[in-house]
Symmetry: C2
Subunit: 345 residues, 2 copies
């Protein structure tokens, strides 16, 4: 039952042809077709024997007795690992991509645009993960009196991002009091890690004027909130509807489960999180992702960086029967372009 080296060169070539053929038209591939397809001068019967071996090895299956074969998950895996020759991406396309990415003026839309680009080019679903940040540095605090007993707290973190919240105070603070508080915080804590700020602020609380404590506490509350927010990663997705076109997703029930997974975000985040830690491109084929809803899907991801530090992951989601040779370079290039745009800012 276990003939290890039964997958010789010829068998591999046939497997490659079979999978490529299947990826093209989605129909089970029979021995006849395969003979015509590949250049080898073989008879269907011979090919049938080889196919039987490939089936024994668990690389292909016949959906029913006497139909052609289709690749299994393991088949795709072997194909992707050992047989695939990726199509080089057209320079023209790269330029177009670059242009569209750069011209997405508001930085907040950049990731969304990247996702849209991915989905448009691949005609599948594109996803870009917005990463959590393990280090959040306080840059500046500002208190702004709004009305009686209402103060707007503005927190600048990581030298770019602004967080804000309105807090209720138990008494009215004058502008100068607020100024004093923010001066203190800025001089004492600017540049520190936010979780540090939290602790040190708690400790130093005793030494301070008691009635200032309340407002300091409020500032601290916000740091908590910011930290929480930063530790929950999120993603933007586009082109989900593209997936509706693939016959594999056949029944609406499965489609629904898939879309629910997308909007729940939890499962997919978990998957993206896994691939952010693995260096370089990752490919999850079918149930390799570990999530039953993605059984008939493959996910191709690549991390993107800011100044050589990995900060997030992007990728595409499509049916296992996807044109890996085209999709892989697209994901790769998009990740690189996004990295360069992010780093040049």
């Amino acid at each position: 039952m276990n003939k290890p080296s039964v997958i010789n060169e010829r068998a591999q070539l046939l497997l490659k042809n079979l999978i490529e053929h299947y990826i093209q038209d989605g129909q089970p591939v029979g021995s006849r077709t395969l003979v015509k397809d590949c250049k080898l001068n073989l008879s269907p019967a011979t090919v049938r024997n080889v196919m039987a071996d490939l089936e024994d090895a668990g690389l292909i299956v016949a959906p029913h007795t006497s139909s052609g074969r289709i690749p299994t998950g393991r088949g795709y895996r072997f194909f992707v690992d050992s047989l695939l020759t990726v199509k080089p991406i057209r320079n023209q396309l790269i330029e177009k991509l670059k242009l569209e990415l750069i011209s997405s003026a508001p930085a907040e839309q950049l990731l969304g645009n990247a996702s849209t680009l991915l989905s448009n080019i691949t005609r599948m679903a594109g996803v870009v993960m917005i990463p959590r940040q393990e280090k959040v540095t306080l840059r500046h605090v500002e208190f702004l009196p709004l009305a009686v007993n209402r103060v707007l707290v503005i927190l600048v973190v990581n030298s770019q991002e602004v967080q804000n919240k309105i807090i209720q105070t138990d008494r009215e603070y004058s502008s100068s009091e607020l100024q004093q508080a923010s001066n203190y915080l800025n001089s004492e804590f600017a540049g520190s890690d936010l979780s540090d700020v939290r602790e040190r602020l708690l400790k130093s609380m005793q030494d301070m004027r008691a009635d200032m404590n309340k407002i300091m506490m409020s500032a601290m509350e916000i740091t908590d909130q910011v930290l929480q927010e930063k530790h929950n990663s999120d993603y933007v997705m586009s082109g989900e509807t593209n997936l509706m076109d693939y016959a594999e997703m056949g029944d609406v029930g499965k489609l629904r489960q898939l879309f629910e997974t997308f909007s729940t975000k939890n499962d997919l985040l978990h998957l993206l999180d896994k691939s952010i830690h693995a260096q370089g491109m990752q490919i999850f084929i079918g149930d390799e992702s570990g999530h039953p809803v993605l059984q008939e899907c493959s996910v191709i991801t690549s991390p993107y960086k800011v100044h050589d530090r990995v900060v997030g992951v992007l990728g595409v989601i499509g049916p296992t029967r996807m044109a890996y040779d085209r999709v892989i370079p697209v994901v790769d290039v998009t990740a690189k372009l996004l990295s360069s745009v992010l780093s040049s800012e």
Copy 2:
């Protein structure tokens, strides 16, 4: 062909029963069933005659010769306008709703939660429109030096919201210069409408020190951006996937179009915008919405207010064959609850 008062009381009763029956099982309703259903002691033949009249009036149709009848758009419209008796909503449910709305702590999530609630209760798609704001008042400006030639501009508008952007400057500004600029802007323009600020700033530019112009211009750019953003309304939607369960949406193609309409947002925004201006609850049945993709859908909306001023719309989207008597009060109550939560802040 035109017998105006042919829809007498009995006919109306039968129509009501027919539609209610159809809403329940989605099967065409025949004369037999209808007789059993309603209390009137009539023979199927009589009912058949009445049904023929109703069909002439365009209120029901037979999907094919000799099957039962189903309501037309006009039929539903008549039903909703004249025959419907809405189910009073359970107090318990109201309480639950109220609790869930109030407990959604971060205000940003409030609208999203309302949408989720709508979709969960009705098992259809919930939508809450985030309205554009016609008046944007400047409250406070703050410039914060980040690095050489990089300044973070923070804009507080409408006494609550904070907008920010990093700008590149052509030379380095000192803290005191920036302070001076913001002092000027705050003292001169705080409390003004943002579009006013823009104009007046342009005019006064000539009188000012030329090298300060650049940074003022940048601030102005942001006001532009904010205005733009505020004038584009948006919505949050949830439970779209619920719609996948309804057989009406039958083929995946239509479903795809529907979902694409949702994510494009344009068409639906247009519809919601229409219903924000109409006072009170609005019901669009089938093609009344004017959008072909919504042909087999009905949209029920209700505006919500802050302190008696209408600021947005919320609603649900489902198949025309929906339980109007249950959904209508849910939308109504949710709008009222949301209004009260928003007004109490």
